[in-house]
């Protein structure tokens, strides 16, 4: 066991950890030492191959196949220098005021969050792609939404030098996505922050204020900043930003559950479906930016969002209900598929939670509630309407009575896609928006941190990621994570002089 001493230890380097690292990095000039401990690798440019299984294994926890305890939802979250910002599509939307009101966190002000969000719009080059860069898959969605009277908006995205390879979710092979791996972390390193990759944190020892971590040697990526081995890192302040599964798990392994009854609880994840419609002729879908439009038309009334998407062969196949000749027929037409990602806006419930098993591994209990199942079925019907309004010949709805719904049956969607057709396991549900588990709030009885990410009762311990969310973000969460992390950094900066060596 080797010992290290730093002033600030940050666990995780994604939207939360990367942002905190950069925001605190000017302190390095005053002699403050900052280390970021990241479990994933820092890939070399040539290691972004765009090959589906290879990149999933390199950039996602368990290759993107983490299952909830009852196996009803697959959770995908990144582990890499830059965390999940390496593998998202760069969609950047601020939290809505209505959502913040639902969160009801005293001391978390909408104007403050907006101001900080705007800061990261500028810093991460968030903008709208010009019309000529919108591919058919996206254009058809937007046009059909307008035809049907569904509200539709273009996604601001944080790309710079995008070549339209369409491989965002496998890590951009052209280095165009402006996640923390391209913007905040390099700047933090230039200012003196040390980023230690391949470094898995096991636990924090609150009595000694140390972080237990293991640095691994890996066959890929740049070598880690520290020699492989086990470490005990003593820090004046510790910021946990390992994501909504691993942040609660680290705090649970650290023995903090006794005082914090909400720790691990109120996990939400925007349960999602990948839906496809098949056209008679090829459309541009796998080239170009995959996610240019969204519709929140049904967010308030039916509890779901619709977003454009374009996934890879295995993920697409996995999303289909059924087997045999029909999926084969659909899959053989990848260049004619239009895709929509449906996101259910799930409620934060105490029973949906992260725990750790006997080996200390995180386990996620998540129940697909009746309202969520109903939302997802309604979303399948709405998506089918969009596909048909786009000119699709047939549609696959996983809860459908038959594998395909043909265009000629588009007036019978309520009958052909029944609520009872949704069965967990039969319908493949996934999630990449993991939230909650260390929720902000007023006190330890019902929350884990205060409105500035400070863990109740532990003045040197902070949380700075989506696990802070008291409820679902109801929109893609990354900019909100960054805005909250910016607040956490401000609080750490203010408190650090009071914290003992």
């Amino acid at each position: 066991m080797r010992d290290k001493q730093v002033d600030i230890a940050i666990i995780g380097s994604g939207a939360g950890g990367g942002t905190v690292a950069k925001a605190l990095s000017p302190l390095c000039r005053d002699g403050v030492s900052v280390a970021v401990l990241e479990s994933g690798p820092r890939l070399k440019e040539e290691e972004y191959t765009g090959r589906e299984l290879e990149m999933a294994e390199r950039l996602y926890f368990d290759g993107g196949g983490v299952l909830t305890r009852d196996r009803s939802v697959t959770l995908a979250f990144g582990h890499a220098y830059g965390g999940s910002t390496v593998v998202y599509t760069g969609t950047s939307l601020p939290l809505r005021e209505s959502t913040l009101r639902k969160w009801n966190v005293r001391g978390l002000d909408f104007d403050d969050l907006q101001r900080r969000s705007r800061k990261y719009f500028a810093e991460n080059h968030v903008h709208l792609l010009p019309d000529e860069c919108i591919n058919d898959n996206n254009r058809l969605f937007a046009g059909a939404c307008r035809t049907l009277g569904y509200r539709v908006e273009q996604f601001p995205v944080n790309v710079d030098g995008c070549r339209g390879s369409g491989l965002c979710n496998l890590g951009c092979p052209n280095g165009a996505k402006m996640g923390t791996h391209r913007v905040q972390l390099p700047q933090a390193e230039r200012n003196g922050v040390t980023v230690v990759t391949n470094c898995a944190v096991d636990r924090i020892d609150p009595a000694a204020r140390t972080v237990r971590a293991t640095v691994r040697r890996e066959a890929i990526g740049h070598p880690p900043a520290w020699e492989p081995g086990e470490y005990r890192v003593r820090a004046r302040a510790v910021i946990v930003a390992a994501g909504a599964v691993n942040s609660p798990a680290i705090l649970l392994r650290s023995g903090l559950a006794g005082d914090l009854k909400a720790l691990g609880r109120y996990f939400t994840c925007h349960p999602a479906l990948i839906l496809v419609g098949q056209h008679d002729h090829p459309i541009t879908n796998f080239s170009g930016h995959p996610k240019s439009y969204y519709s929140d038309h049904f967010a308030e009334s039916e509890g779901f969002l619709l977003e454009t998407c374009m996934y890879f062969p295995f993920v697409t196949a996995k999303s289909l209900a059924g087997f045999g000749d029909e999926p084969r027929a659909l899959m053989s037409a990848m260049d004619r598929l239009q895709m929509i990602l449906v996101l259910a806006l799930d409620a934060a419930l105490p029973g949906n939670r992260v725990t750790v098993n006997g080996r200390g591994e995180p386990v996620v209990d998540y129940r697909l509630s009746e309202p969520v199942r109903a939302s997802l079925v309604k979303a399948m019907r709405a998506s089918a309407r969009i596909f048909f309004a786009s000119g699709a010949r047939r549609v696959h709805a996983p809860a459908g009575r038959t594998f395909f719904v043909e265009a000629g049956d588009s007036d019978r969607l309520d009958d052909l896609i029944p609520l009872e057709g949704f069965k967990a396991g039969k319908v493949s549900v996934s999630s990449a928006h993991l939230m909650g588990g260390c929720r902000m709030g007023d006190g330890p009885a019902a929350s884990v941190t205060d409105a500035w990410g400070g863990v109740h009762g532990v003045p040197w311990l902070f949380v700075a990621d989506a696990s802070l969310f008291p409820g679902s973000a109801e929109i893609n969460p990354y900019i909100t994570i960054m805005a909250l992390a910016d607040r956490v950094a401000e609080r750490v900066r203010g408190r650090l002089p009071e914290l003992p060596q």
Binding site: L53, G63, R71, E132, G164, G166, F323, K423, G425, K426
Partner: protein, 129 residues
């Protein structure tokens, strides 16, 4: 040890598997075996138990294990698991199906076969900017 049986089930799940040559089938098997090996021991035991069930439960109805049924009978068995009233059976089938699809569609050569040809160089409209 269960890869051969898994691939025989896979031929009903992803019929294209049947058309692959020996090298293609080996690539599918390698992907599946690698994915299974990466799972925790508990998950591997569950998969093994489910495959055992899938193989022998049909004997109660047809008098023969799964791999000795006709294609249509195999499909009927798989359909029952896929839409079973029992969630663990549905989830077990989903796991098997996912492994097969990973092996079949995860082969790099599968992409071109199904019309999926992304290019690192991207799309022309982006180049003009």
């Amino acid at each position: 040890m269960y890869t051969m049986f898994l691939l025989s089930v896979g031929e009903r799940i992803a019929p294209g598997l049947h058309d692959l040559d020996a090298a293609g089938r080996r690539r599918v098997a390698a992907i599946v075996e690698r994915a299974v090996a990466a799972r925790p021991p508990r998950v591997r035991r569950q998969l093994s138990a489910f495959l055992h069930l899938l193989r022998w439960l049909p004997a109660a109805r047809y008098g023969r294990p799964f791999d000795r049924l006709r294609g249509a009978q195999q499909d009927a068995v798989l359909r029952w698991f896929h839409d079973s009233p029992l969630a663990p059976f549905r989830h077990g089938f989903w796991g098997v199906k996912t492994l097969i699809f990973m092996g079949y569609y995860g082969r790099p050569e599968a992409a071109a076969e199904i019309g999926y040809r992304p290019a690192r160089a991207g799309a022309p409209p982006f180049h003009a900017r």
